[in-house]
């Protein structure tokens, strides 16, 4: 990229556009081109800054000069005086108004100002059930450009150069996949959108399909043109009824408008899409199982190669892309590979959508440039942990992923860096865990999930995950033995090496990463019969530290069985014979006076009490 001396941030909010923002932008663009300065100054259309009454407005960065009430005729002054001679034009500059409102603007809040919206550019902006809303925000312009101005080879080239990698989890280069399909002479070909999002804590794809269904259709249309496919499927789980409804409405509107069907936009190219509802099996998110499911067979994976681009749906060449991947396509075609690469890192380009959930303040959906430190996502955008809890780990990539502990929280979020930790970027689910999470139980939870969802075709996955799950259950219920950790490790590596599909190959990841980073918790469970988080009821005794107790009575009120005694100014006490180990007191205490001890502590406390009596 050429050296950009300054960014000219023109507000593209509706207020500024209404007051002539585009007219000023055009005038400024013309002025820059006339003077041959267009490569040195970059014009960026931003969202609303909150000063609509002063619009159109423009901020010049890095100077931070703020112009208001701009008219097309001001453009030449600003270019001449400010950009060329370095003298900001005072008469157009912003003056502090007398009255201010207490509500912060987007640029004051990290949740908004650290995000970069590309795949989510229309979120919350358009009515998803109106095709005109989508078209008004450049919808179908990319498809029009691809179909009329570009050859399939050019589309594939642009996609390859963009470096867009599959957002479903595997991270395979989208352009390369399209190229394989394009070069395959076998016909007919298919393109499938994988909307079978099933990771616990992941809802990126659902949100895109609900908020902006047409972007998925347009991405598929461009992919179909590039690979010469004429039929496409969107595979969505039936648990996403709103997504299914909005996609079907969108397909109906696109057909009426001739954007799907025969002879699209009068170009002679034909393509249509059908929504296929899956019954919700996790394994059907695996590409080959998904294709069997569409064929009406039981959703089970088959060995690869041959890959789907050679033998996919009905044994015909098939391109399968994730929802978010497809949502990135139209803007890449419209704005070019260079634009897409301008964010992210060399090998992980562009932006990624993440779903934040778990013990975090801002639960929701975010989009950030690749390479952003994990810490910034959790503590700045996510707003940190609620109720003063401390960060313990974050689970990335769902049941196929792993936990990243506190000491690695600065890791940049790229495919390579996250893989190096043992976790995966995956489809983008981020579940934040605090000090009240037991990491052995977390591993157990995911293994229960994969055991349940294993299709049963290959023994390593069917039997191996079950054995691991039972072993973890033993550890959590006090039956752990010396050598269990090593056994889990060995089993994990065997399952990874011998499973047929991605489900089995990745199922042990949650166990491996928790052993890697939280081995001491496993050891405490096995050797001391102690679960420090107080999750495994057989391995914990709750008691109150007399010194730390402020006798505030909060735990007493929180206890559902009345097991806590004590009065004002008298340190409280948990009556062990009544305690059901529900952990309410631990969560309620603001002073950290409720402590956990090994399961055996209960007997000790009871014995001491008997002696005293």
């Amino acid at each position: 990229m050429a050296n950009v001396r300054a960014n000219l941030m023109i507000c593209g909010g509706t207020g500024c556009i209404a007051s002539g923002g585009y007219k000023f932008k055009e005038a400024l663009e013309k002025e820059l081109i006339d003077r041959g300065l267009h490569s040195e100054f970059k014009i960026v259309m931003t969202g609303c800054n909150g000063f609509c009454a002063e619009g159109p407005i423009m901020t010049v960065l890095p100077d931070g000069i703020f112009y208001e009430k701009l008219k097309p005729e001001h453009a030449s002054d600003i270019v001449e005086e400010h950009l060329l001679k370095g003298r900001p034009v005072e008469k157009y500059m912003y003056r502090e108004p007398g009255k201010t409102v207490k509500v912060p603007t987007m640029k004051d809040i990290p949740f908004f100002n650290l995000q970069v919206l590309r795949a989510l550019r229309n979120k919350g902006m358009i009515d998803p059930e109106k095709i005109e809303d989508y078209i008004a925000r450049d919808g179908y312009m990319a498809a029009a450009k691809a179909l009329t101005e570009m050859s399939p080879e050019e589309v594939v080239k642009e996609m390859k150069e963009s470096g867009l990698r599959g957002r479903g989890g595997a991270g395979f280069l989208c352009g390369l996949k399209w190229e394989f399909a394009m070069k395959n002479p076998d016909e007919p070909k298919y393109i499938i959108c994988n909307g079978d999002e099933g990771d616990p804590g992941a809802f990126m794809d659902r949100s895109i399909m609900e908020a902006d269904p047409h972007v998925v259709l347009e991405g598929m249309l461009i992919g179909a043109y590039a690979t010469n496919a004429h039929w496409g499927y969107i595979y969505v789980r039936a648990e996403y009824p709103l997504a299914v409804k909005r996609l079907e409405i969108a397909i109906g509107h696109a057909r009426e408008a001739g954007l799907l069907g025969e002879n699209i936009l009068g170009t002679g190219f034909s393509f249509d899409i059908e929504v296929y509802q899956g019954a919700g099996a996790f394994v059907c998110g695996e590409s080959t199982a998904l294709m069997r499911s569409i064929e009406g067979k039981r959703g089970m994976p088959r060995p690869t190669p041959p890959n789907s681009v050679y033998k996919g749906l009905w044994d015909k060449p098939t391109v399968l892309n994730n929802v978010e991947t497809l949502a990135c396509v139209p803007e890449i075609i419209l704005k070019g590979a260079g634009w897409f690469r301008s964010l992210g890192t060399e090998k992980s380009t562009g932006t990624k959508v993440f779903a934040l959930s778990g013990s975090i303040n801002n639960i929701g959906l975010i989009e950030v440039p690749m390479g952003i430190p994990l810490k910034q996502i959790i503590f700045d955008i996510g707003g940190g942990l609620p109720r003063g809890r401390t960060f313990k780990a974050v689970q990335l990539g769902g049941p196929s992923g792993g936990c990243i502990p506190d000491e690695l929280i600065d890791v940049p979020v790229t495919y390579e860096d996250i893989n190096a930790t043992g976790a995966i970027v995956g489809s983008g689910g981020m579940v934040v865990m605090d000090d009240l999470s037991c990491m052995v139980s977390v591993a157990k939870f995911f293994l229960e999930f994969t055991t349940e969802e294993s299709c049963g075709k290959c023994p390593p996955c069917r039997i191996g995950t079950k054995v691991m799950q039972l072993k973890l259950e033993d550890i959590c219920e006090g039956r752990g033995r010396e050598g269990d950790i090593e056994l889990l490790n060995d089993l994990s590596h065997d399952i990874i090496a011998t499973s047929l599909c991605g489900l089995g190959k990745s199922a042990p990841n949650p166990v491996l990463t928790t052993i890697k980073y939280f081995k001491h918790e496993y050891e405490e469970h096995i050797n001391q019969g102690y679960c420090r988080a107080g999750v495994c009821r057989d391995l914990v005794t709750f008691h109150i530290d007399e010194e730390a107790c402020k006798a505030c009575g909060v735990c007493k009120r929180a206890c559902p069985v009345g097991a806590i005694t004590g009065e004002k100014k008298v340190p409280h006490e948990i009556q062990q014979e009544m305690c059901i180990k529900c952990r309410s007191c631990l969560e309620a205490c603001k002073f950290g006076a409720v402590k956990t001890g090994p399961g055996s502590l209960r007997e000790e406390i009871l014995k001491n009490k008997a002696v005293k009596a």
Partner: protein, 127 residues
Amino acid sequence: MAKLTIDDLKKIKEKHLAEMTLREGGSRAKVTVHMGTCGIAAGARDVMDTLTEAVASAGLTDVIITNSGCAGACSREPMVTVEILGQAPVKYIELNADKIREIFTEHIQGGRIVEKYALVIGSESTY
């Protein structure tokens, strides 16, 4: 809708962008109720119904009510974006029927932002 050509696409874009944008002589306010699964589960439907009723019973014809998908802050739903001609959009969070009635009277009719329910002013940048 008749089958489109590329010129039609451009025309629709221009025409509809104008309709989506508030301007002098057109609608005075636009209210977007965010209705993704998260919003609906948190009670967005109730907010939408209450708002529609309030606008109808006040006999207002210059307020556009529309719905949209999730705006990203799922834990703060139900969420509504209120845009008044010539002012920055305001995002309101954690709404219910009573709160939207108050916002209707204060902000949509009266032009005063209801600070206690507002999360943020402005809209997001897209790059």
